[in-house]
Symmetry: C3
Amino acid sequence: MNSAVPWALSHTQVAIEVVATLSFALSGVIEGARKKLDAVGICVVAGLAAFGGGTVRDVLLDRRPIFWMQHAIWVWVLLALCIGAMVFMRARHLEPTERAMQWPDALGLGLFTAGGAQIALDAQMPAIIAVILGMVTAVFGGVLRDIVCNEIPRVFSDHRPYAICAFVGGWTLVGLQGLALPPWLTLLGAAAVATLLRAAALVWDWRLPRWQAGSGP
Amino acid sequence: MNSAVPWALSHTQVAIEVVATLSFALSGVIEGARKKLDAVGICVVAGLAAFGGGTVRDVLLDRRPIFWMQHAIWVWVLLALCIGAMVFMRARHLEPTERAMQWPDALGLGLFTAGGAQIALDAQMPAIIAVILGMVTAVFGGVLRDIVCNEIPRVFSDHRPYAICAFVGGWTLVGLQGLALPPWLTLLGAAAVATLLRAAALVWDWRLPRWQAGSGP
Amino acid sequence: MNSAVPWALSHTQVAIEVVATLSFALSGVIEGARKKLDAVGICVVAGLAAFGGGTVRDVLLDRRPIFWMQHAIWVWVLLALCIGAMVFMRARHLEPTERAMQWPDALGLGLFTAGGAQIALDAQMPAIIAVILGMVTAVFGGVLRDIVCNEIPRVFSDHRPYAICAFVGGWTLVGLQGLALPPWLTLLGAAAVATLLRAAALVWDWRLPRWQAGSGP
């Protein structure tokens, strides 16, 4: 392995975190605005949505400093995003923005999953744990956002495939790992699988099977 | 102290975590099904109920790897339990299952308390902190389950003794520690006290004292 | 720098944590009583309100043992406070107590902010992260209290300046740090700014700007 590969890997991972973080932050702004939080609340919910999943992953893995504490620039970017959204976005923008956000959000889902699972594999975790930590990275930001907004997390209750796409993407990463591909290709492949699966679920309106409550008396 | 004692202690602790974990996971499946979560949500809530308390304890003590990340087999067991429950359990089973679950849950309460408090004592924590971490281990899985399901945690609001049984069990462990008994006996004694106290509370329908709201004007 | 300065700094920091902790604990007792939690629930909510912010800060910074696990005396003080409040406080006391609590709470806000931000600076965090960790220390106890009580955290939704006072106080600490003042003076200066700002917000009933929902169609 030459020295360019860790470099490319490290840059791919940083780029992954940037795109996904901003796309998740905006989901927090929208949810906070809907719940009529004040300016501080909106920033905090955006921060939880953007950084929450990665933070839970880093705490579980005991990885320090936590990424947003190390690259403080992203806290500034988050603040700018929130203030910009609060100044320029009007209430009537919320619903169309949320619909438009589905696509960068699907991208974030794939990228966070692949990045998170890779970090867990690098920390010598077994495959199933890496897959779960990839899911945690992708999904727990939204979970924390919804908990603070006093909702049952949408990802657990809307019966649409979301975390399950991350689950499949995580296993893709584990599988590709075995092929000794260049690390960036492994990452992008896994991210693509999760993202495309989520996009397909959106386009064809897939549903998860319901609990078989109907078969009771 | 001969070398058999740490062996027995370590096996007792592993056995403790297994039985209690499965019994708590099923409480998560039931709560998730009641809230009409989708399949992914049910698995996550079951996972929080089963692993949440121990995870919070390990994070507070800075103990890594966290037990379910080290023994990944238990994640597989959890997944199998959730899928099995979703396939075989019908809505009309929920209430009788929950009533039947009270007894393994009381067992889990005792075992988690004793195991968690012992781990804290091993980490040189003072007695009161060990007792609290035993309670956290036993109780916080259910707390996280209820928070995600958007309920006030039942353990804090149903006015029945639950955490308080863990509290007494924890102090029992601290007291037995002073008697220089074999470690497995100390563990089982403390677990038995907490479990029997909980069972007595269920059988005789004990209530915690209410806040003296009635004495206001 | 002579050896008296670290001594004074360490004592100032301990005193900071004591006063602020008790004042926050009482807010948890009141909120728990309002939600009709049982005795255990009230103690846990008081503990979350008092220790939650500092615990989240310590976990994010990987600082162990967590302060309340190291100084176990404060757990005893918390228990005594909760039991005392439950015995002596009546339902009709809740509202007047809460109004009276605004002032020690403002003090706690300032002290926790300054203490938390200082700890983050000591851990070599960049300025913006130290400010955020100061806010987390001051604010997340109340956030956890409200999440467990199944409310949207008041600090994010009541449109009154609270976290923003911590934000300004945090930046004051960072600014004073540059002046090479004695550490205790830096701490007290930053705490005073946050506390006075909060007090002014209470006295003149300041409001945060609302989301511009009215400008939609």
